[in-house]
């Protein structure tokens, strides 16, 4: 992961860095900044048995589950806000017993990646003390024991060893995560893998810094010189990144602040219609994922007019006149 040109095609990046059985994390949150082009490529390459670690990675996680790529998931939130209070393929897979799962909270998952990024085995928090998130394990003791990639316990409650008062001071320790690979979508990166995300960064930075391999897809590859002009706006360093792929509209149908809005027609109509029914879902995959070879072929299916209507207003960072229902 040195300071060399890491630009490649999306197909190359997925083939090289995403393997059957990998522990994977995806960037973005709910209905924004999800690495959707990369998710479709993973589905197209028929990667199997992935172990997903997710905060609230919404649409990306739902399509990856729907693409039959995921064996198990550790997750805080499987929804896309008001588009889908519960993501449909996530819900169906759990209700049908097809997905192994374990629940956490958003802060717990964030801290798990943060611990991984710091190279330490765990971090403490007060989050979710006294709840079933701590008492109910999705993966049992035996299952954990047989798998080197899982910590032996889900969460561990301790007494604060520094406490000097009578006041109860319990904390829950969350185990570190170091994914085999993390994929994020950013606004800008240079060819070396220096990255600038505009807007909220969610848990992207902790995920990237905790990961053994990192794929950055971006709207635009820019020069290092451009990034150097505003160093405080850059967050990720070249030596943390394995591959850089330029993919315009790479987060569509989720939003990318400053570039485009989410697509309500896709997220409120097309997607739910497909995702709620197994036969319809297969048709969706056949048409929008397996029926195209590249992202630009996919975008042709969506159509120029529709994409044009989503383009962000320069001042707002989204399209304030977008029809949203």
């Amino acid at each position: 992961m040195s300071n060399t040109n890491k630009v490649m095609t999306l197909a190359e990046a997925i083939e090289k860095f995403v393997h059957d059985g990998d522990l994977i994390s995806l960037g973005g949150f709910s209905s924004t900044q999800c690495p959707m082009a990369a998710v479709h490529e993973i589905i197209r390459q028929k990667v199997r048995n992935l172990h997903v670690a997710a905060c609230s990675n919404g649409q990306a996680v739902d399509e990856l589950i729907g693409g039959d790529c995921v064996e198990r998931i550790e997750i805080a939130y499987g929804g896309t806000g008001r588009f889908a209070p519960t993501c449909l393929r996530f819900r169906k897979s759990i209700e049908q017993g097809k997905l192994k799962f374990e629940d956490y909270s958003n802060y717990q998952m964030t801290l798990r990646f943060m611990a991984g990024s710091m190279g330490i085995p765990f971090l403490p928090t007060y989050s979710a003390l006294g709840t079933d998130i701590i008492s109910k394990w999705g993966f049992g003791e035996d299952y954990r024991e047989q798998d080197d990639n899982l910590p032996l316990q889900k969460l561990v409650v301790i007494d604060n060893p520094f406490n000097r008062t009578d006041k109860v001071d319990k904390l829950v320790l969350v185990p570190a995560l170091q994914p085999d690979v993390t994929i994020i979508h950013a606004q800008k990166a240079d060819a070396l893998g220096n990255v600038r995300i505009s807007g909220l960064v969610y848990t992207d930075l902790e995920q990237v810094k905790a990961s053994k391999k990192v794929i950055v897809t971006c709207e635009e590859i820019v020069t290092t010189d451009e990034l150097r002009q505003d160093p405080e706006r850059n967050q990720i360093l070249s030596f943390q990144v394995s591959a850089v792929v330029e993919v315009p509209w790479g987060a569509y149908p989720t939003a990318l602040p400053g570039y485009y809005d989410y697509d309500p027609a896709f997220l409120l109509t097309l997607y739910p219609k497909a995702a709620k029914d197994d036969a319809e879902w297969q048709k969706y995959l056949d048409e929008y994922v397996f029926g195209v070879k590249t992202r630009s072929e996919f975008l042709q299916l969506i159509g120029e007019e529709r994409l044009e209507s989503l383009k962000a207003d320069e001042e707002y960072g989204y399209n304030p006149s977008l029809k949203r229902r």
């Binding site: 939130y77 409650v157 909220l200």
Partner: protein
């Protein structure tokens, strides 16, 4: 008297209550929860800071967001961070104790614990929901929480199928024993009534019922027995409150039905 919907009533009750308790920071989710926060800011407490767990802080939006990551929460915010910073600000009690978290859930029990994970057996659920997101985090650490709920026997239950977000757990002293720094739930706002929690027993009691229903009507929509003795009829929204809610808070009617 002005015509109003029950949803408008809920948002306006929230706005009035925000002023009554003098809240500094409101952490909210999407939908009615955001609408309530905006109603508080536009109608009663203009200085309140609206805060999203995604890291969008002191938000000043023009349009209702569809999710916590909607670019509409980013435009003109004072700070855009990430989840790590957002939750840290609320976990530390220097700042966290001044925050109000507004939540929602599929089920609530008499101690204000919430379920947003699943109905039925955890491993093979009848219905699977999104899971905690930041709800368990917020319910653990902020100064106080409110919940927006719909009344119904399957929602106000004796026992949750899964305890996602801590209320008063199993009663007085339980939060302290568990080690939770936040103060717990203080208000539940529903489509027909509001509820508070007894200082001693920590049990939910009927606080107010909306014009047109009786306390007994409310009891019939709740699985557990509830104290009705302190209930009063809620004061309906005024013309002025409704005017601001409709024209300034959600003019596109994304949340308002």
């Amino acid at each position: 008297m002005a015509d109003y919907t029950l949803q408008e009533m809920q948002a306006i009750i929230a706005a009035r209550e925000a002023k009554a308790i003098g809240v500094d920071v409101i952490l909210c989710g999407t939908g009615i929860s955001t609408l309530a926060a905006v109603a508080a800011k536009k109608i009663t407490t203009p200085d309140v800071v609206i805060f999203f767990e995604t890291g969008a802080i002191d938000v000043e939006f023009n349009q209702m967001p569809m999710s916590l990551s909607d670019p509409r929460v980013m435009h003109r915010a004072v700070r855009l961070a990430g989840l790590a910073e957002a939750f840290a600000i609320n976990q530390n009690q220097i700042t966290g104790q001044h925050a109000l978290g507004i939540l929602g859930a599929a089920q609530i029990d008499i101690y204000g614990n919430l379920n947003s994970t699943s109905i039925g057996d955890y491993f093979s659920p009848k219905v699977r929901f999104s899971g905690s997101g930041g709800a368990a985090d917020i319910g653990s650490v902020v100064g106080q929480t409110w919940a927006f709920m719909e009344l119904g026997k399957r929602k106000f239950v004796d026992k949750l199928d899964y305890l996602t977000t801590p209320g008063y757990l199993d009663g007085p002293g339980a939060r302290e024993r568990a080690g939770l720094p936040g103060q717990g739930p203080s208000l539940v706002i529903t489509n027909k009534a509001t509820f508070r929690f007894d200082d001693i027993t920590k049990k939910m009691y009927l606080d107010s019922y909306y014009p047109g229903v009786t306390p007994q009507d409310i009891q019939e929509e709740i699985s557990f027995e509830i104290d009705l003795s302190r209930a009063v009829e809620a004061i309906p929204p005024t013309e002025q409150e409704l005017e601001i809610l409709r024209t300034q808070c959600d003019p596109e009617r994304m949340v308002l039905k």
